[in-house]
Amino acid sequence: MTLSELTNERQGYSFGYLDAYAKRELRRRALKAIAIPGYQVPYASRELPIARGWGTGGLQVTLALVGPDSIVKVIDQGADDSVNAANLRRFIKRMSGASTTTDTLRATILQSRHRIPEEIMQEGQVLVLQVPDPEPLRRVQPDISKAAQLHADADYGQMWLGLYEQLVRFKQYVQGADYPSLVHGRYIMNPSPIPRWDTPKLHQAAHLTLLSAGREKRMYAVPPYTNVQPLEFDDVPFQIEDQTGRVCKTTGAANKFMNELPQDDGSATFELSDSGYAEKLKNDLAPGATYFDEQGNFYHDGYLKPPVRPA
């Protein structure tokens, strides 16, 4: 018997790139994150062959979950063909052999930067969101050791104060994307820099959402059917971005999140941000039900409230 008979053939990289120890750690951290919705679980975070800050957190989670039968969709700013999404998809496919798709409803794993698709995701699907900054308290406490203590005590007074100051100074909430939200009535989380249009989609969602920050080495989760509440005062409701009057120039769709395209003549045209959804409309393929219907009504009745101007 020779040594070569006892060993496997040499391979350049492990399945899914990460070694088995790294995958085990990531899966255990993911289980803990699911068990404590919104709680930031620290993890070691390996270096990957793409730059930090370019989706390495999401990518580690995807690589820990992906199998040969997985169907993976990757989007950046809603687009499958954005250069960074294309690069990540190419890497996941190269390292796992998983098949890929641009169809939200076919994907078993959907990795995204800055968007949640318009079509309602289903039970059994996993949404992996890339997170630049997992710490919602960074706005009021840059020291993470102190911020961790505030989370432990559910001491969110400074967040509420910040919200109040926004109303005093600007007569409205001015946080743009990455709107801080309370998960399961306990932890405030950053939902990743998705627009406010997408934040309500996390509430009582049928799918699992895993949020992962590779550079900051934190992972957290919104399990299926969990309450997610953007921070708001009872008398001044949270507001999504106004898409009223915006019509997609190629599909004619309305009341979806639009890219605004400045024109030479000073005007602007609009197109759907969700390229997979646009593709279905263009090719007359029946898209699935969407979170916002064509009149702009959100699918959970009464969850979003009309604007109220503070006195």
Partner: protein, 403 residues
């Protein structure tokens, strides 16, 4: 085109091909030239990449056209895939094969000061004669239409390029490997014997059980092992900037270089079958100690840093940071805070996050734009009544805190 309706994949492949074309051919000769001719650059990439592999570090530099951060990332990403097959025994200062060893604290120290290889006292004059020699050689080539090989040989054999190696180094050189084998005691041992420094007991811990910043979750306050590992692989420029801020005026202390060493360390393992301790090779290492009076303890305290490869400026700055982090009362300048220093000197994370701002951000920008327009509609800051209301830029600052 940055985001195409179709063709994103093709675009990134073309972009990479163009980058490669502008950098010239990637050849084994180029890798060898970098490895042999630029040891300090290779050391820096190995140190920050935390992988001792001169050939791979040279390859990383060649492959990236000398972009340091990209080279470090290449090495780190490769390293992350490699299994740990064994743990080396701890080494110590008195076991290092030392080629350079200086102390600013005493004129003479046990074992003596060893100046060793250094540019410290060189005149920083460009060696234009090398270019002249090269041009002369080229002219000769043109005149004589000699083979390409002559050009390389003539520049190497030019008298001005030949360095005489100090006898103090050659006298103690291991004939087998060209590596000096002189060892020197640690100055800190003398200071401990004098009662100037508190006595230390080496922690009894198996090498495999030492906290590892590359596979552990880092929490604060971090174990000292994490701190020293983080400094060892920290960005040289980042460590220098923070260390310099302390030295210049935001420090708790004035660092005196107690001992700075460049040398070679044996990498010793225990054989898994026979149990014998043996060396698998030697690596270039450097270490630095700075010393300062320890207020309230009637003695001194040390700051320490070490790294793979030779990198003096980084280690003086890093050992100063180590000392200030130890003395931090939790309320000082940011460079005294372990969390601040460790997070912000990490080269792969800092550079990666910085360049990620090149990625499209138009969803987040659209989100903030929505707020700005709603505000303009609500308060009208340009109608003359808005003087008391903060303008759009203030709101943008609050709305734009996203990555």
């Amino acid at each position: 085109m940055y985001v195409a309706a179709k063709g994103g994949e093709e675009a990134i492949q073309n972009s990479e091909a163009l980058y490669g074309a502008l950098n010239g051919a990637l050849t084994l000769d180029m890798v060898r030239a970098i490895q042999e001719g630029m040891p300090y650059l290779v050391d820096r990439v190995m140190g920050e990449g935390s992988l001792y592999a001169p050939e791979l570090a040279a390859l990383a530099l060649a492959q990236t056209g000398g972009d340091l951060y990209e080279a470090v990332l290449l090495l780190r990403a490769y390293r992350a895939t490699q299994p740990r097959i064994a743990y080396a025994h701890a080494t110590s200062a008195d076991k290092l094969f030392t080629v350079r060893r200086i102390s600013a604290a005493f004129k003479d120290i046990p074992g003596g000061q060893v100046l060793g290889p250094s540019l410290d006292y060189s005149h920083r004059l460009l060696r234009l004669d090398v270019l002249d020699e090269e041009r002369a050689a080229l002219n000769r080539e043109d005149a004589e239409t000699t083979s390409v090989g002559t050009r390389h040989a003539s520049s190497v054999s030019a008298p001005s390029a030949v360095q005489s190696i100090p006898s103090s180094v050659t006298n103690t050189t291991d004939a087998m490997n060209g590596v000096p084998t002189s060892t020197y005691p640690a100055l800190a041992d003398w200071q401990r014997a004098q009662g100037l420094l508190p006595p230390t007991e080496p922690e009894q811990i198996a090498p495999a059980d030492i906290p590892d910043v590359t596979t552990d979750t880092v929490m604060f306050p971090a174990p000292r092992a994490h701190r020293l590992q983080a400094l060892a692989r920290a960005d040289t420029g980042g460590v220098l900037a923070l260390g310099y801020s302390i030295m210049r005026g935001y420090g708790l202390i004035h660092p005196t270089v107690n001992e700075l060493r460049l040398g070679y360390s044996e990498v010793e393992l225990t054989h898994p079958v026979t149990g014998a301790v043996f060396s698998v090779g030697r690596v270039r290492v450097s270490q630095c100690e700075v010393i300062t009076p320890d207020a309230g303890k009637q003695g001194y305290m040390l700051g320490f840093a070490a790294t793979m490869g030779w990198n003096e400026v980084k280690l003086i700055a890093a050992s100063t940071l180590d000392m200030d982090m130890a003395a931090n009362d939790g309320d000082g300048h940011a460079a005294h805070s372990e969390e601040f220093v460790m997070y912000h000197t990490e080269p792969v994370e800092a550079s990666g996050f910085c360049i990620h701002f090149k990625l499209p951000h138009y969803v987040t920008f659209a989100s903030s734009l929505d707020n700005i327009r709603k505000m303009a509609a609500a308060v009208g800051w340009d109608d003359g009544k808005g003087a008391q209301t903060p303008g759009p830029s203030a709101a943008m600052d609050e709305a734009e805190q996203v990555g």
